[in-house]
Amino acid sequence: MNKQTTVGESRVWITALGLALGLAMTIIILGLITFYGMRVFWPKNVVTVSVPQELAIQDTGGKSSNRYLGIEMKRVEKKVPGKSEEKAPVSVQFYTANRHAYGGSFVFVLEEQLTIENELNKNVMLIERETDSRAMVLPVKLIIDDKEYLPESPEFNSALEKALDYVNDKRDQGRDIQDELHDLDIELKDYQLDLFVKKRDGLDTSLEEKEIARIQKLADEYSAAKNKLLEEQNKDTLVVKISESGMSYDLSVGNIIRYNFPNRLSTGGKFALFCDNIWEYVSSWPREANTEGGIFPAIIGTLVMTLIMCIPVTFFGVIAAIYLHEYAKDNLLTRAVRIAINNLAGVPSIVFGAFGLGFLIYTVGVGIDDFFFSDWKAATNEPVFGTGGLIWASLTLALMTLPVVIVSTEEALASVPNGLREGAMGCGATKWQSIWTIILPSSMPGIITGMILAMARGAGEVAPLMLVGVIKVVHALPIDMTAPFIHLDQKFMHLGFHIYDLGFQSPDSEAAKPMVYATTLFLILTVTSLNLAGIIIRQRLRKKYATGAF
């Protein structure tokens, strides 16, 4: 074999290492996030931990227990500085839930100091509540209409189920009333605005006052009905204790959202609960400052924002690309414009955020308020468009992702063979006819790719949104059934900001961590699937128009 051809073979291996490391990084980050994200939903066994008396934990009921319930979360080596050769003591973190009783949701115990009992307590219940964090308790008795059920009794489960059905029924009714109240509130605000305007102009206001009085009376009636419902909802009580020797307290059944007996689950049951947990996370509203509950409004917020962004970005992006490719002559100016657009793709996203805040909100938004909503502003002292909102966030991101669509569409336009254009012209089509009937349809996949890539970029971007309308918690979705259905002036929740807020600014960051991993998983799924779709379409396209110059 010729020695010449092998020169530098080992260095080739080093370059291969670069690629392997790069791919490994991708796989590692995706894998870890999938692992951590999925783990959050998988039901785990609740163990009984016993520790020496001096490590017993005090609860707010004044009892101290050295045997308590917990879910093992992780083990960490506690390194002592300067003694790395010695075996570091291992500390185990347990999730104890019951934050209101223990003052925290987690405890750390040194491995050598604890014993985990082999036998699992089958009676342990994990309860998600409307208010307060999760409870991990042993049921003592269930009191329904003065009738008591002990957990050992066979009717216990069915009685609890029945009580919960009743509660859910009441909860639904309560929600309906809440919706009615919401509508009333909107109506009330309208009348108050009219009242303000008429008062200012010195007109007769008796009609408005009458209407306002009527609405307020109605609202009071609804509130009373709601309170009554709430009372009915809370009529049953579940007496529980937080551990064998810990405090016991009355848990209102009306407060329970979901419950399960983690130690009674078979693998199949666990899997069912796992799926249920994921569904619950996706479909429910957040509770307890986002540390409990789900991310439903964040998903909707991200979706609506991305879709609204999509409309202007595709429209204007395609027009700009058509102009650049079909109309503009290839001169220095066009070249400079192209450089500028490519450049725009490289401008940091936060700069767009600053632009959105300074120009769109403070200049355009405040201008709109002054022009169209001056009465409203004077009456309520609240801005409408003069503050962060869905429309501004969408427009900011649209501007940011514009280059993506322009570049991608231009690529697609370039890949349409010139023969088609000349053919259309030859048949007597006007320029617009040939664009509309021939060129645009054949470059559609490219345009869609650009759109999808823009959506992916937009959905994953957080930095500019922090300045133009994303908020921690919302009480209403940006789309609903009251006119105008899509509320462009409303602030909204966003998956990416949810991650930032929980992971970075949450007061109980340890409790929030699993939630963040779960949200991260959903965001990655959204963005990656969008991107994969874009990439695959583009690759197909390239194959189809392989003659096109790239």
Binding site: V12, T15, G18, I29, L32, I33, Q433, V462, L467
Partner: protein, 739 residues
């Protein structure tokens, strides 16, 4: 036929319209995009403007020899005081709204006249001294009410006193400072041709319901110091007296309720100081001597063990023309001050030493005054003419030096670059230097590139030159997936997962960086020693499959050797070693973590563009090289790399541009303190992070808001330049190898 014609007309019309519309929209969009830059510049531009001052009116006053001047918060009702009377004016119609004969108003005794008066702007009180050594406090008590649809300020003056220093003589100078509880008055008293300086503590008793009782003298002392006094100043906090003497010394007494204590005597030059005046916040003084030399002094501790002393910190204040009449007024809104010497009037900002405005009057200036809201300037000349100027200076703190220069801030022992937009109090200086932020951005970028560039370029070279074409179809999308990871996820991952692990196992990571390439090299040697057809021999283009186990082996080896290395080199703990031996801080969120995390964002960008550039090198070049007998490595490095070098350079530039402007990753991993240290284990704050954290709270059109836009502009320009260079390189390359 006619039918056909009509439809064709319609078509033509549509065509014409659409052509016009597309051209219009296309150019419009491109122009709109360019507007982004224009808007940012538009937001930043006002920072470069000086104060805009316009003369409003002049008003001849009937009061001769004015001792002091005051005005209400809304600049509508000035008050002047001279030896005989206190006169209130109404600026709206230039009328006198009220006049009080001081003799009756203060019920002075026979032969007693007012000889000295000063105005305390923060308390809105005159303090006047008489020829018999008594002094009075006249509270002006402006109130504002609506009269016939107009807001009118009306004074209801109230005199407190008399108080005395326990010595009968003529008060020639008086100064007064008041806090909630402590009040301090100091005066120069002339008796029998001899001058002496006295201070008096005043106190106000409170009853059970918090109503203020009578003001009483608590104690009075005489001050002893070398030389003859020239000027006197009591600090607003009522705890310090500053005196300048005729020999050019500045003498500081502290007065904390008891015997005043002389703490500092500082020589400011040879000539007599004509003026000593405070800057808002009481930490700084301005002095002017007879030659017109202006000195700015600030008190600070040179090091933690020395006492608080005044030092000259401002050296660039221009000298005033020599003169006899000096006047001074400090703003109570910001650190600006107005000084005059004879006919020259200047407005300065103390922090930046920047001259905001200068004006020359026809007559000598007796007293000058900045209104409380920093929106008017009043000047009284020696002909008793009151000049009113409208002052429009929204950004007094702004100057070139504010953003890019070293400034000696109050309380700091030396001049420095610093970003600190919110001080502890309203009186604190805004520190808006861009330098720490630019430094932070560059530091983060440097570590990101250090990590990302070699990896990405190696991967690009391998993928384009050596990898089997079938595998390329999988590898490129995989890297694109990495590019699409939202930065908030990478940031979160870096901060929550990577940072704590790196903190504990840094030596292991270092060992991995060494062992993985080593093991790979060893394996490569083993491979090349194998004959073709051997079952362990890798086929060309498939090397990187073999690397999976090799990498794992290398990583495990490095990981296991890490603690050993830590014991041998770093005394068992790298963290404490770094802390003690290198004497630098170790923070868990540091530049290394930022660099690693940002690598995830930058690697795929560099990789994709560099790979494109390398793949586009014409096949005939590589084929020629291989045909002449060069190995594939030789072809790659000697033929392909030089040809594609411009493209590789542009790839790196684009990666650099992305790293400079990255926000979320850095926000999570950088810690956020704007410090300028080269220590890789320290945090920083970048321009982008600064925008993200401070923008939502910055009041619109304030100095901070515009300063943040200045940060945005810097970011924009940095990335714009980087990207343009890269783009031009790329276009040139594309043209060069166009078939």
């Amino acid at each position: 036929m006619s039918d056909l014609m009509r439809s064709s007309k319609k078509t033509l019309l549509i065509d014409k319209f659409m052509n016009g519309a597309i051209k219009f929209c296309g150019i419009g969009i491109i122009a709109a995009v360019m507007c982004l830059l224009l808007y940012i510049v538009y937001e930043v531009y006002p920072l470069s403007k000086s104060a805009k001052v316009t003369a409003v009116k002049t008003l001849k006053l009937d009061t001769p020899n004015i001792l002091s001047f005051a005005i209400d918060e809304w600049s509508s009702a000035p008050a002047v005081i001279n030896a005989e009377e206190l006169t209130f004016l109404k600026l709206k119609d230039d009328s006198v709204s009220g006049s009080h004969k001081l003799k009756d108003f203060l019920s002075l005794s026979e032969g007693e006249t007012v000889t000295a008066a000063t105005y305390n702007q923060s308390k809105q009180q005159f303090i006047v001294g008489t020829s018999k050594g008594n002094f009075y406090i006249i509270a002006l008590n402006f109130s504002r009410e609506e009269q016939n649809g107009e807001w009118v300020a009306t004074p209801s003056p109230e005199a407190l006193g008399p108080f005395d220093f326990g010595i009968e003589g003529k008060i020639t100078q008086i100064s007064y400072g008041a806090q909630e509880e402590q009040k301090l008055c100091s005066a120069l008293i002339e008796k029998d041709g001899k001058n002496s300086t006295h201070i008096a503590y005043l106190s106000q008793s409170m009853d059970l319901f918090g109503n203020a009782g009578d003001l009483e003298i608590e104690d009075s002392y005489q001050l002893d110091y070398p030389g003859t006094m020239s000027r006197l100043l009591v600090s607003n906090q009522a705890d310090r007296v500053a005196i300048t003497n005729t020999k050019g010394d500045l003498i500081i007494f502290t007065c904390n309720g008891g015997d005043p204590e002389l703490v500092q005597t500082k020589s400011l030059g040879e000539s007599e100081n004509k003026l000593v005046a405070p800057i808002l916040g009481d930490q700084s003084l301005i002095t002017i001597d007879a030659k017109g030399t202006v000195a700015g002094l600030t008190y600070y501790k040179e090091n933690p063990k020395t006492p608080l002393l005044f030092h000259q910190t401002k050296h660039e204040l221009e000298s005033m023309p020599m003169g006899e009449d000096f006047s001074y007024s400090g703003s109570v809104r910001n650190k600006s001050f107005l000084i005059s010497s004879n006919k020259t009037l200047r407005l300065y900002n103390f922090t930046t030493e920047h001259k905001r405005w200068e004006h020359t009057l026809e007559n000598n200036i007796k007293s000058s005054f900045i209104s409380q809201k920093y929106d008017n300037i009043f000047v009284i000349d020696d002909q008793s003419v009151l000049h009113q100027f409208d002052l429009n200076d929204p950004h007094p703190e702004a100057s070139w030096k504010t953003f890019f220069g070293k400034i000696h801030y109050e309380g700091a022992p030396e001049a420095e670059y610093k970003w600190e937009s919110t001080g502890g109090t309203d009186e604190a200086e805004m520190k808006l230097s861009m330098m720490p932020l630019v430094y932070g951005s560059l530091k983060a970028t440097f570590y990101a590139m250090l990590f990302a560039m070699p990896l990405a370029l190696l991967a690009a070279l391998y993928t384009s030159q050596f990898l089997h074409p079938d595998l390329k179809k999988i590898v490129k999308p995989a890297m694109e997936i990495m590019a699409s990871l939202p930065s908030v996820i990478i940031g979160f991952f870096g901060a929550i997962w990577l940072a704590p692990r790196l903190e504990d196992t840094f030596p292991s990571v270092i060992m991995c960086i060494i062992t993985i390439p080593l093991v790979t090299l060893l394996f490569a040697k083993f491979q090349s020693s194998l004959a073709h057809g051997h079952s362990f021999k890798s086929r060309p283009g498939h090397e990187f499959f073999w690397l999976a186990p090799i990498m794992v082996i290398g990583a495990i080896l490095g990981w296991k050797m890490g603690p050993g290395l830590e014991n041998i080199l770093f005394d068992g703990s790298f963290k404490s070693w770094w802390h003690h031996s290198a004497n630098m801080k170790y923070e868990s969120k540091n530049a290394i973590v930022v660099g690693f995390s940002m690598g995830f964002a930058v690697i795929p960008i560099i990789f994709t563009i560099a790979e494109d550039a390398l793949s586009n090198v014409p096949k005939n070049l590589t084929s020629g090289s291989l045909a002449l007998g060069a190995s594939r490595w030789q072809t790659a490095t000697k033929v392909v790399l030089p040809t594609a070098s411009a493209g590789i350079f542009s790839a790196c530039m684009i990666g650099l541009g992305r790293a400079v402007g990255e926000t979320m990753i850095v926000l999570f991993c950088c810690g956020g303190t704007p410090i300028m240290e080269a220590n890789p284990f320290n945090g920083m704050r970048t321009l982008a992070v600064n925008l993200a954290t401070e923008m939502p709270e910055a009041p619109k059109d304030g100095t901070l808001f515009r300063a943040l836009f200045m940060g945005a502009l810097l970011l924009f320009l940095m990335t714009f330049i980087i990207n343009t260079v890269a783009e031009i390189m790329r276009q040139r390359l594309r043209d060069k190898y166009k078939v």
